[in-house]
């Protein structure tokens, strides 16, 4: 079993994080704005944003004394990194599946 860094597939599996992500796809927002729009407390929003940030899906910047979050400017590149990892994992698992079942047959 390989170790698994936080990534977009896992990060977006949570409905609240998906809601946050979709709002940020619309336009950049501060933590307070997100907390005001969603039925979630401000500390909880911050926690979710941290997960999204660790997964490389959002970035933040300082604006006065607020922190503004937006989707990762890597754009397609971010998607590419996710898919690159997805297919690497899939092919590694495929190799072990196909070779194991070959052994069982012989």
């Amino acid at each position: 079993m390989q170790t698994y860094r936080a990534d977009g597939w896992a990060a977006l599996g949570d409905p609240t994080r998906r809601a946050i992500f979709e709002r940020l796809a619309d336009r950049p927002r501060a933590v307070g704005e997100l907390a005001g729009e969603l039925p979630v407390s401000r500390p909880a929003v911050s926690q979710h944003l941290k997960v999204l940030k660790d997964a490389g899906l959002v970035v933040d910047r300082r604006d006065g004394n607020r922190r503004i979050y937006q989707l990762d400017p890597g754009g397609v590149g971010g998607l590419r990194a996710q898919l690159d990892r997805f297919w690497s994992q899939a092919l590694a698992a495929y190799k072990s599946a196909v070779e194991q079942s070959t052994e069982e047959v012989s």
Binding site: G8, G56, R80, V98, E99
Partner: protein, 158 residues
């Protein structure tokens, strides 16, 4: 090959110790057994993943409650050499209904020796998924785009 095309695609390959016919069959028939489990757009656990073995067929996940998620279409099906599927999932991890905004995955099977097969995979036209991301990219400008990504990608490979 243009730089653009390179950047908008993912390529990876694996060599498996099995004949080409079997390599193709396992890849298509047993896709659900090796697909990373995080890949699930359903609200419930996946009961099975179905790969319909024909052009015009779908790849879909069926949940334990009977719900279905059709996330790919079979665009080419040429056993044992090649299969091409669409990728109908948006960067927001939802099913993309606008087919112009979908990418495609080509998988080629090449016999290297009896009992050994190279499987080459290319996921291309990722830029077609772009519109959802472009406003952000434009706002940040050149330096925040590809260069930032390439640095992150290099980190991943360490």
């Amino acid at each position: 090959m243009s730089t653009q095309a390179q950047e908008a695609s993912v390529r990876t390959q694996v060599v498996v110790e099995t004949p080409i016919e079997r390599a193709f069959r396992v890849f298509t028939e047993d896709f659900g057994s090796f697909k990373p489990p995080e890949h699930n757009l359903l609200a419930v656990e996946i009961a099975e993943t179905v790969f319909e073995p024909r052009v015009g067929g779908h790849l879909y996940d069926r949940g334990v409650d009977g719900s279905e998620c059709r996330w790919a279409r079979v665009l080419a099906y040429e056993p044992p050499d090649r299969v091409v599927i669409s990728w109908d999932i948006s960067p927001q991890w939802q099913i993309e209904t606008d087919l112009e905004k979908t990418s495609e995955v080509e998988v080629r099977f090449v016999s290297e020796a009896p009992g050994r097969t190279r499987v080459e995979l290319e996921h291309r036209n990722l830029d077609r998924h772009g519109p959802g991301w472009e406003p952000e990219r434009d706002a940040v400008g050149g330096d925040g785009g590809w260069p930032l990504y390439l640095r992150r990608f290099a980190e991943l490979l360490k």
